[in-house]
Amino acid sequence: MNSVAREVATAARELADSLSGEQHFIVTQRSRVSDGAGKVVLVDGGAEVGEYPDLIAEALARAAKKKRPSAILVGATRTGRIIAARLAAKLNLGCLSDVYRLRVQGSSIVGDRDVFAGKAVAEVKADLPCVATVKVGTYPVTSEGSTGLEVEEVGSLHGDVRLVETLEKRGATTDLRSASVIVSAGRGFRKKEDLRLAEDLARAIGGALGCSRPLSSDYGWLPEELHIGLTGVTVRPSLYFALGISGQLQHVAGIKESKVIAAVNTDRDAPIFQVADYGIVGDLYQVVPAILEILKG
């Protein structure tokens, strides 16, 4: 969460500068105060608030009514999307979603967002004040530390959803997002054991392992945090190596910022070749061992 929050802090700083205003870093848990960047505001609604996006939204709404910010930015994670949308509905404010390259134009904020699974870019606009979720991986992470604390008491909060338990903790998706080389596996792999080929290639070229949606969501061969695409992680490595991935729009949405895309697929007409810089039409079971052999020599 922290690298996302620190990206959002950068976006907020840029906007605050063009509005000649102040940027505040909002936390809703006392334990998170030291993670802040710049002037930190603790919107204090009690210890439980952090687990519940609806309570975070309510706490922020109460604080916003008092402090009247020009814009409230949230990282576009799943939790962040819930918080922002509920907050916008509570305050009846416009909500830009998954935006980057945010800029002030007159009394509005304009941002870019990818639509149609990344096939097009929409320029979207909301009048100030507004809420926005910032697309993850689009702003540099601020290194600024916490420089002061203000506490905003918002009274007690009651939610209508109970957290029963947390089932699985997954690895952070941060590794894949910051990887400079990624080897990614798709449905061209016939069984789970064969993924060793992708792992071997990843190891040989110093890359991280990723996958397309079927391998994590349908087959359960790899954990969900390695799922690259529209509903998974967006990556921007210098080299993206797609093995046995057909290149559905939803997958391409997560890789299009890669510097170089290489693809191996048996199907000459697979859409992945339309978005790849270099491709081999062939069986990954023959091609990957051949590449490994060349890299050894």
Binding site: V124, K169, A172, G279, V281
Partner: protein, 227 residues
């Protein structure tokens, strides 16, 4: 209908099959959206409600507009136990409508759900977030958004498709839901441009060995292969 929406319809029909009740399909659009409602009815929905935008209304890209109209239409339709939504639309994928809708209907919101169970008026869900899965509970009525791994949507049979055309679809003009005023529209799309995807699209031919050699050379000269 988008694939994400099919997952929501499928789950609602499964819940109907296991717990009883009926399924109403709501959507906002032009009159041609009726065929989308019919698709959902063929999958097992009982009736439809299409909120028809006035001809003068531009396409709503603003989630707040859509959520507002849906909230009014759902309230108007009477009491219910559960509202199921897709996690997002396949074109815009903002994922904002479900939480906004829950706020306006004052319902508990359980978002990004991969498993739903209902027992004694309590809904229990598995919510899948980027870095963890959580089990959440709430009293009904509630609002849930589902992720695509929750189920495999059924393909309706020809008979079901034919029967669907006899199921009632109510068309409600959006002005009726907003007392004649325009719905809130706080976000506008200024312009849309095709994303430039300038890729080299070089295909290496030959034996796996020959093609691999050319690929490795190309990647080395790009400077993206350090070893």
């Amino acid at each position: 209908m988008s694939t994400f929406d099919k997952n929501a319809v499928e789950e609602s029909v499964r819940l109907k099959e296991s717990s009883g009740g009926s399924v109403t399909i709501f959507t906002v659009g032009r009159s041609d959206a009726k065929k989308t409602v019919k698709e959902a009815l063929a999958m097992g929905g009982d009736r439809g409600c299409l909120v028809v935008l006035a001809a003068s209304e531009p396409d709503p890209h603003d989630s707040l507009t859509i959520a507002y109209l849906l909230a009014r239409a759902i309230e108007r339709a009477g009491p219910f136990d559960l509202v199921l939504c897709a996690e997002g639309s396949s074109d815009i994928y903002a994922g904002q409508v479900p939480p906004m809708l829950s706020e306006w209907l004052a319902l508990p919101f359980l978002g990004y759900v991969r498993k739903v169970e209902i027992k004694d008026g309590v809904i229990r869900c598995e919510q899948t977030l980027e870095e963890r899965v959580r089990v959440l509970e709430a009293e009904l009525p509630a609002l849930v958004s589902v992720v695509s791994e929750i189920n495999e949507p059924r393909y309706p049979t020809l008979l079901q498709i034919m029967q669907a055309s006899k199921k009632p679809i109510e068309e409600v003009r959006s002005e009726l839901l907003t007392d004649g005023r325009a719905p809130p529209r706080l976000v506008t799309t200024v312009r849309m441009t095709a994303h430039a995807m300038n890729r080299k699209r070089v295909i290496f031919e030959g034996s796996p060995e020959a093609a691999s050699r050319k690929l490795v050379e190309a990647l080395r000269s790009e400077g993206v292969l350090k070893r």
